[in-house]
């Protein structure tokens, strides 16, 4: 996607935004973010990390304690909420219970004083878009969760806003429906060219749908990158832990070798790693290796790379992959995932093996 975001073409900017509800603790600390036009940006983070708060500030329902949010170059606080033209899908849908589906969709059009025939056409188009054309006469309470979700989506899009905010819209749905709707939402967003700010707990959702993902923790953006970068090159141990499955080993940097370094683990073994958050010998570090990048077959290991002893504790057959739990450097939770391929063999518990990885797959992060 490669959307570089410089302040000039940014559609939405958060500039050193802080937010406190009670005057004692900062829920959002120093938030800087630029969102380009047409971008699909996801805010991902654990519960209570301030995602909804950011969204509410952007929608204008909360005011920033400090800093400035601009929308299309104008400070958001100078535009009243109903003039912002932001479509919003609430975590709990917020469909008006006393109105039918059609009336719900008609509402934003009516308040914009759009003529009746025009209105009907738009409603029909929006409903067809989410494949809910035949539900126009129903009340929200007569719809299933997934259907309500789609109506909420249609309502947020029917008045053709330039920016759509979605707060965990798929949180309550089953896996299958989630996946279908994820697909529908991304498609729609790209088709209509709208800018989307999407909030979720679910990292898979974040990785599959977004152009860029902002990982939130503790009121800060820990990392803001495209999904692949985020996964492969986490910038700190929080992101590494939070995104995908991850093995961590702790140790001390023993040698810096330019682009790589050596780390002495707590039990004395030496491994290769890429220094990310470490710069000096003697620094404590957490190294992180993705389970699918761990190899035990010597033929697949890079020449000259360090290997390390491991004992097989558990072997799980998962169809497309094998998942092996190992004891490595005193850690019992080290996981290795291998593809179910003809040249792979099934390990047996108790077996002693040597494992290794390409140095660039092993990242030495902050301790």
């Amino acid at each position: 996607m490669g959307l570089t975001s410089n302040a000039q073409d940014a559609f939405v900017t958060f500039d050193r935004v802080q937010k406190s509800y009670d005057g004692e603790t900062l829920v959002v600390k120093d938030l800087n973010l630029q969102i380009g036009k047409g971008e699909f940006l996801t805010m991902l983070g654990p519960s209570g990390s301030g995602k909804t708060t950011c969204l509410m500030m952007l929608a204008g329902f909360e005011t920033a304690t400090h800093g400035e949010i601009t929308l299309d170059g104008r400070p958001i606080n100078n535009i009243p909420p109903h003039k912002r033209g932001i479509g919003m899908v609430f975590q709990n849908y917020a469909l008006f219970p006393h109105m039918t589906v059609a009336e719900n969709l008609s509402f934003p059009l009516e308040v914009r004083k759009i003529g009746k025939s025009d209105r009907e056409a738009k409603i029909k188009r929006a409903l067809d878009m989410v494949q809910m054309g035949s539900f126009a006469g129903r009340r929200p309470s007569q719809l299933s969760g997934g259907q309500q979700q789609r109506i909420a989506l249609a309502r947020a899009l029917v008045f053709e806003p330039e920016l759509v905010l979605m707060d965990e819209p798929l949180g309550a749905l089953d896996k299958q429906l989630r996946e279908t709707l994820q697909f529908e939402i991304t498609n729609l967003a790209h088709e209509l060219g709208i800018t989307v700010v999407y909030v979720t707990h679910d990292q898979t959702e974040a990785l599959t749908m977004s152009d860029r993902v902002a990982v939130f923790d503790d009121g800060r953006i820990q990392q803001l990158d495209a999904p692949d970068t985020l996964y492969e090159e986490p910038k700190n141990s929080f992101v590494a832990q939070f995104i995908g499955e991850n093995n961590t080993l702790t140790g001390v940097v023993s040698k810096m070798k330019g682009a790589t370094c050596e780390v002495r683990l707590d039990d004395g073994e030496i491994i290769d790693a890429v220094p990310v958050n470490v710069s000096q010998v003697g620094e404590r570090t957490q190294v992180s290796i993705r389970p699918e990048r761990v190899e035990y077959n010597p033929e697949r290991l890079t020449e000259g790379a360090h290997t390390i002893h491991a004992e097989v504790l558990e072997f799980i057959y998962m169809g497309d992959i094998y998942r092996t739990r190992l004891r490595v450097a005193g850690h019992d939770t080290f996981v290795m995932k291998t593809r179910n391929a003809p040249d792979q063999r099934r390990l047996t518990p108790g077996e002693k093996i040597e494992i290794g990885w390409r140095p660039q797959d092993c990242r030495a992060l902050d301790a």
Partner: protein, 568 residues
């Protein structure tokens, strides 16, 4: 081992049998009874237990709520007092044509009835009952209670002149009383003598001699009425009392009406005296009972009295209901009350109108408060809610009296208005003892009943609906009016029902601050219950009020839907 397997075998057989039965007959439970029966039994036990648990409340409600309502409905049509107090008159009036004053027979029946009623001191009650229908009857009855003693005196004197024996109680008891009763009464008298002062055994109830009612029907009836009455009311013995004058009247009427042969065929005690009297009555000086009664009080010789008695002689009457809607029952059918006596329709209209005004004021004042309360942080809103409930902690009387202080012409509000210069000192507003006063005070008193349901409904409306509306482009007002308000309607409905029903039956406040123009129908009901003692009319008014509320409730259900009412 063998035992066990044998047991198993027989058990298996039993199971098989049971399964067979299940296939062919009804399903059986483990103990072999039909499954349905055991299920019913189990359910019945459950139901009984539930019933027992709610029994105290059920009984309480039946006794304190349902029973009084039924009693009220009954009282509003009940009218047994006329037929109970004047039973003979009512029967005699049956074939009265209502064209002219009734016959002597009716007056004679009235004399017997009235004499008993006066002795039992029931005539004034009947008088006040009939006074509701025709004013003035109450005093007629009271006056006649004193005069009734003399009715029939002419005949009594003539009988006694004829034979001194007619003055003697023994003559009468010999003629009238059953021998068994006589001996029982003598026994009682002896016991009473022996026991002295504190003897409280009741007298044996008087019984007529066999056959005497055939010979002297009216006399027997009149004498029994006399005997029973003095036994019960005065605890005197008929054997020692000279009968009332009306008994002599009855004797005269019997003897005058009977053919001589009937008396001649009588061979019981006192036959000789009776025969002599029979021979003499034809020469008796007679009087017209109508005139006698007319002398006692003119009303007895006038039509309205008789029309009223006739109209209300049925044990059940629509009269109270008619009165409650400003109509009256006349011999010519149902008619409107005279103009100056029509008050109830006006009062009903006023009650409904003012209740509506009060309800609307409560909505207008209560809605913003409830809205504020439901949108404040919990701690503040709880504090404010206590303030809303604060009035409940002070007595209703105190609150209402406070309004008197505030609203009177020399009161705080008028003073302030004069001081500010809105009104001139000599044009102070009349804020109390009229409708304004009632509306202000009752709105204040009933406001919590509006705020509480509104608050509890608004509390359940999540804030994100309004946010959603705003994000969809609605202004504050549109978001409120199209999204918030419709969802708060159930609260408005519940509050309105509460306030309206409470105010339609309110009594104390209108009584205290309503003056003449601000009173409700309930004040009139209270008046009839505690002052005029016309309970029948009070019950009819109450029943109409009840019906009115039910009708309004029904209309409300039709328009808004009762499911749309939420109390919390």
């Amino acid at each position: 081992m063998t035992d066990a397997s044998a047991g198993n075998a027989s058990q298996n057989a039993a199971t098989a049998r049971r399964e067979d039965a299940a296939r062919t007959g009804p399903m059986l439970a483990a103990d072999g009874r039909p499954l349905k029966a055991s299920l019913n039994r189990a359910l019945r036990r459950q139901k009984m237990r539930a019933l027992l648990l709610i029994a105290p409340l059920l009984i309480f409600i039946l006794v304190t709520f349902v029973a009084p309502i039924i009693d009220m409905l009954f009282r509003s049509v009940e009218n047994q007092i006329v037929s109970e107090t004047l039973p003979r008159t009512v029967v005699a009036l049956d074939d009265w044509d209502a064209q002219d004053l009734p016959s002597e027979d009716v007056y004679a029946a009235l004399a017997y009835d009235f004499n008993e009623a006066a002795e039992r001191r029931r005539h004034t009650r009947l008088g006040s009952r009939l006074n509701y229908e025709t004013t003035g009857l109450s005093s007629t009855f009271r006056r006649s209670g004193r005069g009734i003693e003399d009715v029939g005196e002419t005949y009594a004197e003539q009988f006694i002149d004829l034979d001194e024996a007619w003055e003697e109680p023994e003559t009468w008891t010999a003629l009238m009383a059953h021998p068994d009763w006589l001996s029982a009464q003598a026994e009682w008298a002896a016991e009473a003598e022996a026991a002295g002062r504190d003897f409280d055994e009741p007298e044996p109830a008087f019984r007529l001699a066999p056959g005497i009612a055939d010979v002297l029907p009216e006399t027997a009836d009149a004498y029994r009425s006399f005997a029973r009455t003095i036994q019960q009311e005065d605890e005197d013995s008929p054997t020692e009392e000279e009968p009332w004058n009306t008994v002599y009247l009855a004797l005269y009427r019997d003897l005058a009406a009977q053919p001589a042969s009937a008396v001649a065929a009588y061979f019981g005690p006192i036959a000789a005296e009776l025969a002599a009297a029979d021979a003499a009555v034809d020469g008796f000086e007679t009087v017209s009972l109508r005139e006698v009664f007319g002398e006692m009080d003119d009303a007895w010789a006038e039509m309205p009295m008789w029309e009223t008695i006739d109209a209300f002689s049925d044990p059940y009457t629509a009269g109270y209901f008619l009165a409650a809607i400003d109509l009256q029952l006349t011999p010519d059918g149902i008619e409107a009350q005279p103009e100056d006596q029509r008050i109830y329709i006006l009062l009903f209209q006023r009650t409904i109108f003012m209740s509506l005004v009060i309800t609307i004021s409560c909505v207008l004042l209560g809605y913003p408060i409830a809205y504020l309360l439901s949108n404040l942080p919990a701690r503040t809103s709880n504090l404010l809610l206590i303030l809303v409930l604060l009035p409940f902690w002070t007595s209703l009387l105190v609150r209402t009296s406070a309004w008197k202080v505030l609203l009177q012409q020399e009161g705080v509000i008028n003073d302030i208005l004069v001081w500010v210069g809105f009104i001139a000192d000599d044009a102070r507003l009349q804020l109390i003892n009229n409708q304004t006063g009632t509306i202000i005070a009752m709105t204040h008193i009933l406001l919590p009943f509006m705020i509480l349901p509104l608050f509890s409904v608004m509390k359940t409306i999540p804030p994100y609906y309004v946010r959603a509306a705003k994000s969809l482009g609605a202004t504050n007002w549109t978001a409120f009016w199209r999204v918030y308000f419709p969802q708060s309607i159930p609260g408005i409905g519940a509050g309105c029902i509460l306030v309206f029903i409470l105010s339609i039956g309110y009594y104390i406040t209108p009584e205290l601050v309503g003056g003449r123009t601000g009173t409700f129908i309930s004040n009139r009901i209270a008046f009839h219950i505690s002052e005029s003692l016309n309970w029948g009319l009070a019950a009819a008014l109450g029943s109409i009020l009840l019906a009115l509320v039910l009708v309004l409730y029904w209309i409300y259900d039709r328009m808004v839907g009762i499911d749309n009412v939420k109390l919390g």
